[in-house]
């Protein structure tokens, strides 16, 4: 297969989560939805269930308004919209973590908006590094497992978690490698890159790793395309077709990303040593540099500047999800740090109902002109 053929496979999956859901069910597997931003997918996977990401969709909001006021982010709104429209029917449960205020209320609304799919909370500690936080994470896992067993009839066995952790660590590594390799392949478009990352949410991770590995092999053989303008993307989501199309149109390539639905997922592996559940808890404790994780030193700010420098990016493109508190609080600090580092930054407000990309177009056009002047 050529690189382009590989990429089309990913694109087909990314465009059709409903088809993926059907496919898993047809194979006799049970599906558990996972809401943003972090859920212990390894536990779900270890129980023989397929975790599928539910980050909403680009669509008009109608019925979600019965639950949410207009000023909550379009991610939680469209998750409920899709749920009410029956798009997730067949899934056995949804796991929603408590990482931001909008996610907290998503869980509460879900119970009444989509009663056919049980809500399972995952309450993470924000003060996550002390030892006592680990006990709290473990208590959260216990509760999660109990609820998953009740919702799906599947059974949790800790030995099988060992294997799931291996699958996920392998996937993390493959995705990190992919991000690095893609930075050197500007002929892979922003839209295609986004599809590879997005498809990971809908596939069995072992299978996704296999596909990514094959893509990496194909890339190694491929002719590198002409240079483009390397940028770092940051935000919650970067999958809006209108945005990736503009990045491509103006000649940008994603040198690295700090996107919650993309590379933030793959930065931290589960460490070795100890009982599997405890290892998994230590993974969460080790996570960092993300707007929904308590960050008293604001390491996230420096992280973005460093990421840009290390990846050779010439600018930072912040895709700020409208009404996303966590990101909106970080934005001014990131801007300041980029300014101080002499790194151009554009801030583009995005949501899942975007039809007008005029402002984004102007900003990216101006950025291109600045970088090529």
């Amino acid at each position: 297969m050529t690189v382009q053929e590989h990429l089309s496979r990913f694109e087909a999956v990314a465009k059709d989560p409903a088809g993926q859901l059907k496919g898993h069910l047809a194979q006799g597997r049970k599906v558990v939805l996972t809401a943003p931003v972090y859920t212990p997918e390894e536990i779900i996977y270890a129980m023989g269930l397929v975790p599928m990401g539910a980050w909403g969709g680009d669509m008009e909001l109608r019925r979600s308004k019965e639950y949410f006021p207009a000023f909550l982010c379009s991610i939680v709104q469209s998750i409920v919209e899709l749920g009410m429209a029956g798009a997730y029917e067949g899934a056995s449960a949804i796991v929603i973590p408590s990482l931001c205020d909008s996610l907290k209320v998503l869980g509460q609304n879900w119970k009444y908006a989509v009663p056919s799919i049980p809500f399972i909370p995952m309450t993470w500690p924000q003060n996550r590094t002390p030892d006592y936080a680990r006990d709290f994470i473990l208590a959260g896992y216990e509760r999660l497992i109990r609820d998953l067993e009740a919702a799906t009839g599947a059974v949790f066995e800790e030995e099988r978690l060992e294997e799931a952790i291996r699958v996920y660590n392998d996937h993390d590594r493959a995705m990190r490698e992919l991000a690095k390799v893609l930075a050197a392949h500007p002929e892979v478009s922003a839209a295609q890159r986004s599809a590879v990352f997005k498809s990971a949410w809908f596939m069995d991770k072992a299978e996704h790793t296999a596909w990514v590995t094959e893509l990496l092999a194909a890339l190694r053989e491929a002719v590198v395309g002409p240079k483009k303008l390397p940028v770092v993307t940051t935000g919650v989501l970067a999958d809006a077709p209108g945005i990736t199309a503009l990045l491509d149109e103006y000649g940008f390539t994603v040198a690295a990303d700090d996107v919650a639905a993309e590379s933030r997922q793959y930065r931290t592996d589960t460490p070795e040593g100890g009982a599997p559940l405890e290892r998994l808890a230590r993974k969460f404790q080790a996570m960092d540099c993300c707007s929904v994780l308590y960050d008293p030193q604001k390491r996230q700010v420096e992280h973005i500047v460093r990421l840009a420098k290390d990846s050779g990016a010439k600018a930072v493109v912040m895709l700020l999800t409208k009404f996303c508190d966590p990101e909106e609080f970080d934005a001014p600090l990131i801007k300041k740090a980029c300014d101080a580092a002499g790194l151009p930054m554009v801030q583009i407000e995005v949501d899942r109902q975007m039809v007008n990309y005029g402002q984004a177009r102007t900003m990216l056009e101006t950025l291109r002109d600045t970088l090529t002047a």
């Binding site: 639950y67 006021p69 609304n109 119970k111 500690p125 006592y132 709290f136 008293p296 909106e328 609080f329």
Partner: protein
């Protein structure tokens, strides 16, 4: 014009609860300033951070949310919000946070000044927005941040796991503060604070429960003013005494058949949400002019900080509004509606507060059904005056009144 009215007002009675409570609230600020002037470290503290900790340690703190409410009520909300917005903060962010971050930058607001902090105390039991806000304060002012994470509880009861996690953090915070300020924790002093807090809380619960009388001996808007003391000073002796005075006044009012609601009480409603501080007069008059008394709010329940020991105190902080699930939130409100013979629910859909407004639609539907009362909502904001429309408020309140009226006639 208001100057003229003020001139003709009789001087406040220094023995009245209103006067005492006002003094306590004002003294909280002047005490903190005095501490600062003496060279002692001063903190900025989240409203639902366990006040027992700074109180027991003898640390002066001020409350940015209170300050922001004060600034907003005195007309400075838009000015400070715009300063933050010019710095890149989205106007979608909670207006209290925008005001506070602006103040941290300009360090002066004649509406309500506070001493600049040497540390900040954050507790996210009311929202995670708080975490982000305090992280930024800590970074911009380059001062330590002490954080107690009290997760949103998806369950009805507080689990042992949550309690253990929260308790460990309380001690962690105490030890961090001891190291930072040189002050020492004293169990004896803590017991004293716990006792006063219990006394204040009991009086508050009993005073707010006087709304069960018909007519109610008080205007519910009073509670919004007295709340500041419950938030910031409930562990102080003076607060306990002032609240007990308030209770006595309400009981006396009832005996005498008078009320601080200075109109005929035709309808009794529950108000849901934070007050619209910049539009306090408008929102209050819109009700009073129609004979609608807001007899209760969740604040009546929220400040019942009565606990028997340290564990129990930790549990109480896990059960503040905004930390509890829809069902427990709903049931607390249903109880208030029933106990106080509420005939309608007026919901403030507060643009600033995603958590509070986020499941309000479903919760108020359930309350309306359970109590068989009409529910009407309006759009507003607790501190950004730009997010409120007087005309919409008026129409909605009129609508609520008409339903209540029709129901009375049908009875």
């Amino acid at each position: 014009m208001s100057e003229e009215i003020k001139k003709h007002r009789p001087p406040p009675d220094p023995n009245s609860a209103k006067y005492k409570l006002g003094q306590i609230a004002a003294k909280a600020y002047s005490d903190a300033q005095a501490a600062k002037d003496r060279g002692e470290p001063v903190g900025w503290c989240a409203s639902n951070f366990p006040v027992e900790i700074p109180e027991t340690l003898g640390l002066a703190v001020v409350y940015p949310e209170n300050q922001a409410a004060g600034i907003a009520a005195r007309g400075g909300g838009a000015r400070l919000c715009e300063i933050s917005e010019a710095d890149g903060y989205s106007n979608d962010i909670c207006a209290y946070a925008r005001i506070s971050l602006a103040y941290a930058k300009i360090k002066d607001a004649p509406e309500q000044n506070v001493p600049m902090p040497d540390f900040v105390l954050c507790c996210n039991n009311i929202c995670n927005c708080m975490i982000k806000w305090y992280e930024n304060l800590s970074r911009e002012l380059n001062i330590p941040l002490i954080m107690i994470d009290i997760p949103f509880n998806p369950d009805y009861e507080v689990s042992d796991g949550e309690l253990a996690y929260v308790k460990a953090q309380f001690w962690d915070a105490i030890h961090q503060l001891e190291a930072l300020t040189g002050k020492k924790w004293s169990d004896e002093r803590y017991r004293e604070v716990m006792e006063y807090s219990g006394r204040t809380s009991r009086a508050w619960l009993a005073a707010t429960a006087c709304a069960r009388y018909e007519p109610s001996p008080f205007n519910g808007f009073d509670l919004l003013n007295h709340m500041a003391v419950m938030v910031t000073a409930r562990g102080k002796k003076e607060a306990a005494e002032a609240m007990e005075t308030l209770l006595k006044e309400y009981e006396d009012n009832h005996e005498k058949g008078v009320s601080t609601f200075r109109a005929e009480e035709k309808y009794r409603i529950m108000f849901e949400g934070i007050a619209c501080w910049p539009w306090l007069r408008v929102t209050s008059t819109g009700l009073k002019s129609r004979g609608i008394n807001m007899v209760t709010t969740i604040y009546a329940d929220a400040f019942g900080f009565i606990y028997k020991d340290f564990d129990d105190m930790c549990r109480a902080y896990c059960r503040v509004p905004n930390a509890i699930n829809l069902e427990l939130s709903r049931d607390k409100r249903i109880k208030l509606c029933r106990d106080n013979h509420v005939e309608g629910l007026l919901v403030h859909t507060n643009r600033s507060c995603k958590l509070w407004s986020g499941f309000m639609a479903e919760m108020s539907r359930q309350i309306g059904q359970a109590c068989d009362i009409p529910v009407v909502s309006f759009d507003g904001d607790q501190a950004d005056p730009r997010n409120f429309s007087e005309a919409q408020y008026d129409t909605r309140v009129q609508g609520l009144m008409e339903i209540m009226e029709a129901r009375k006639e049908a009875m």
